[in-house]
């Protein structure tokens, strides 16, 4: 479980990127971290894995401050950043020298994931394309079987077939003892995977709710006259709206629409979820 309490951080003391972020991310879920550019999603992930120190407030991973670099905590925590450097060795060699740090690492599993992604584990990482390298890194990270996996824009650079492989592998990865946090702008790529949505804005956490809660409270689609519309926008399919779900009707959750509704009408959304 990851908890943050009144977390504040800024690269300069004058301009905080994150202020007063209080979150509680439970195991057994795939959490989607959404927000506009520069709102601090990547920074929040870095704070969660202890490579940056909060200015105020605290972060806890499994009850432990990641800044303390507790070895047991880090054996169960991995981050895949959007941009990364890996050494110029083959993935197989990389896994051989890195796996002793991760007690649940499974080489067979990694080879299987590489096969699924069509990545050659014996090829040097620097001779791979950016997408191939990302797939290699994802294969390695999944094979480490860590309890907390943090992914920053994981689908950037992946081709269309790899995106579906990624979704399939990630869906099979999460169980009651594991959690995944995905920070992304490509919501369409992971829409079906996420079961908890966290929306960040300038004021902090604008929304933190499970998809079940969202579907229970809100309805997505074309509005009729009796619907209470919270937000609407013109799309190719016509006027699409986010409405109050008064009669517990079923609708397909559109994360993009939800995100736009949250950023445009924060108070209304907050009021709906605070009532619960």
């Amino acid at each position: 479980m990851i908890t943050t309490n009144k977390l504040t951080f800024g690269y300069t003391s004058a301009r905080p990127v994150l202020s007063n972020i209080t979150l509680n991310l439970e195991k057994g879920h795939i959490h989607g971290l959404l927000g506009c550019n520069g709102i601090g999603k990547t920074t929040l992930l870095k704070l969660m894995c202890g490579i940056m120190r909060p200015q105020h407030g605290e972060v806890r991973v499994g009850g432990i401050d990641p800044m303390k670099r507790d070895v047991a905590t880090f054996q169960d925590l991995m981050i895949i950043p959007e941009e990364f450097d890996l050494p110029n060795i083959s993935l197989e060699m990389f896994a051989r020298v890195t796996s002793p740090f991760y007690p649940r690492f499974d080489m067979g599993q990694m080879r299987h994931y590489c096969e699924e992604f069509h990545v050659n584990p014996n090829e040097k990482l620097h001779s791979m394309s950016m997408g191939q390298r990302k797939k290699a890194y994802i294969s390695f990270a999944l094979a480490c079987n860590v309890q907390t996996l943090l992914l920053d824009e994981p689908t950037n650079g992946l081709d269309i077939p790899s995106k579906s492989v990624f979704r399939r592998l990630l869906a099979g990865y999460v169980d009651d003892s594991r959690m995944v946090v995905i920070s992304t702008h490509q919501v369409a790529d992971v829409e079906q995977l996420l079961d908890n949505i966290v929306v960040l804005d300038e004021q902090g956490v604008a929304l933190n709710a499970t998809t079940a809660e969202i579907s229970h409270c809100l309805k997505f689609g074309k509005a009729s006259e009796d619907d209470k519309v919270i937000y609407s926008e013109c799309t190719l399919q016509g006027e699409m709206a986010v409405m109050l779900n008064k009669h517990d009707e079923d609708s397909v959750l559109s994360i993009e629409l939800l995100f736009n509704a949250t950023t445009a009408n924060r108070q209304a959304i907050a009021a709906i979820f605070n009532e619960r």
């Binding site: 202890g50 047991a72 905590t73 880090f74 060795i89």
Partner: protein
């Protein structure tokens, strides 16, 4: 789980050297190649020995730089920064890297370069004599080794502290060091080394100089330890430059 384990330290060293193997090999090749080039150009084994010694001194700067690459590369080396090793193991590795591995590699490559350059030397010389002078005057010279440790630990501290511009940080540290020396000189002049009004003798002549020398040596020997301890504290406070 214990915060320090020798096994994990060895695993981390293996990870570091395998991951950076290409870079380390290229540095070692340069450490052999450049003195060899000097031997071809000058045909003088003494100038080759000087280049080898220069490389030995250079490792004090280089080792700190190489040991902190992940921390200096901002967000891109996340894997290396989040690898499950404690701060104690990380700093122990940095110390071993700068105090043992790089100086040792520098010694081996230095001797190798001197030996490989033999066909190019001219004049009367004894290779064994040059190698033994290299060993006794430089490589096994404890005060020089200590000075290198001091430089290395200061460089490590600068690398861990500097945020954006490493060159500016080194420059500031150098200016700071000069200012410190001048201030220390002034303080000593005004206290220990003042002129006596009566016999124009210096005060320090009456002080037990052996005692001063002893304590100076102790302080000098402990200074690298002090700087490495500071590095550990900085590392605990901050894992990454931003």
């Amino acid at each position: 789980m214990r915060s320090f384990s020798l096994g994990r330290l060895a695993q981390y060293a293996r990870y570091y050297y395998v991951s950076n193997s290409r870079f380390i090999i290229s540095v070692l090749l340069q450490m052999v190649g450049i003195p060899l080039l000097f031997s071809v150009l000058t045909h003088d084994c003494y100038s080759v020995r000087d280049v080898v010694v220069a490389f030995y001194v250079f490792t004090a700067f280089g080792s700190a730089l190489f040991s902190t690459t992940a921390i200096r590369k901002r967000g891109r080396k996340t894997m290396e920064v989040t690898i499950p090793v404690s701060n104690e193991e990380r700093i122990a590795f940095m110390v071993l890297n700068s105090a043992l591995f790089f100086p040792l590699m520098s010694m081996v490559t230095g001797i190798l370069a001197l030996v490989l350059g033999t066909p190019f030397y001219s004049g009367n010389y004894s290779l064994m004599q040059i190698i033994s002078s290299l060993l006794s005057d430089y490589y096994f010279d404890y005060p020089l080794y200590l000075a290198l440790m001091l430089i290395s630990s200061c460089c490590l501290l600068i690398n861990l502290l500097a945020r954006r511009r490493l060159f500016v940080a080194y420059l500031l540290a150098f200016i700071g060091f000069i200012v410190f020396c001048v201030m220390l000189g002034n303080i000593l002049e005004n206290t220990l080394f003042y002129d006596s009004e009566f016999n124009k003798q210096y005060f320090f002549l009456y002080v037990d100089s052996d005692k001063i020398k002893f304590w100076a040596k102790v302080i000098y020997s402990l200074m690298p330890v002090f700087f490495y301890a500071l590095c550990y504290l900085v590392l605990r406070k901050r894992q990454m430059k931003w």
